[in-house]
Symmetry: D2
Subunit: 101 residues, 4 copies
């Protein structure tokens, strides 16, 4: 799915452990949702947990994006040339997908 | 966490199998995210998958809400009295949480 | 654009003055955005005001939806028949548009 | 509200005319909403227009952010030093406000 070459580590490499921890917790939240539906939990209570899980996923996205801007985009800007434009375009598209999701 | 009594089956009971299937798929998407981060996948590709997972969770929320309005809210409206007002207030609050998440 | 007959007043008729007041304030916020851009205000400060305006519009939408559920949907549920299903479907579609916008 | 010095033109200066045009159209959409409410338009039709207006505002925000990344953030990255970190932090915070609004 990647359309980019990238020899270097991705922008989140420093925080990889923290990101993986958050994703583990989100996986647990989704499993919790399955249990709630299996147990016929009241709809509104299930919805409250879906909103919490969505918020947790958004926080991961914002964290990844933050690291991406701070590393990949800043480095590309310093290297200059077309690569900088390309990275900015790519980041803008990712932000648009996030805002609309 | 539930603040409501509910003797009856929740609104999504007819579609329980479909909702559980979607949640299983979302759990798989979150595990896929973990693998992507472990494998140092390029940030933008991880973000694309996070947006897809968020959209899938939102679709589950809209499905649950739809069933809730069609069953619990409609039944409460028919029963009348304070219960109807309470159910509408509760649904509105859940919608607000969704729109803001 | 309306696909529905509706002889009665819309659900927000009691709060019409309050809704109109909010819309007036939002119109002022949008005019403020125009002035900011004309004056070459710093991008981030313009963005902060765009977010505030979007939140104000969402609050109007949630208010209208709340009134719609409390009046039109509850009344249709009481009247029963196909009308109830139709109103619930229509409300669910409007909620989906809001969540995705 | 601005916490930043900025001697140069803001990032959107090239597209100022296009941004102003969009804002004028959004102002018209908000005035249209006022008329709809004054005329007791059916709630769902008002909601559809609120969603369209919100989407139009989001498009302006994404445009401004795009220009901001392409100009202010890229220039700060090239200049280097603390300014680059500061601009990235500031852009990330603006993105978070957008995603959550």
């Amino acid at each position: 799915m990647s359309t980019e070459h990238h020899d270097a580590a991705p922008g989140y490499s420093d925080d990889k452990v923290a990101v993986l921890k958050r994703l583990k917790r989100i996986e647990g939240q989704v499993r919790g949702l399955t249990r709630m539906v299996e147990d016929d939990t009241y709809c509104i209570d299930v919805l409250t947990q879906v909103s919490a899980t969505t918020k947790a996923l958004e926080a991961v996205a914002l964290k990844l994006l933050d690291e991406h801007l701070a590393h990949c985009v800043v480095n590309a800007a310093r290297a200059g040339g077309e690569e900088a434009d390309l990275k900015v375009k790519e980041a803008s598209d990712a932000i648009a997908r996030l805002v609309r999701s």
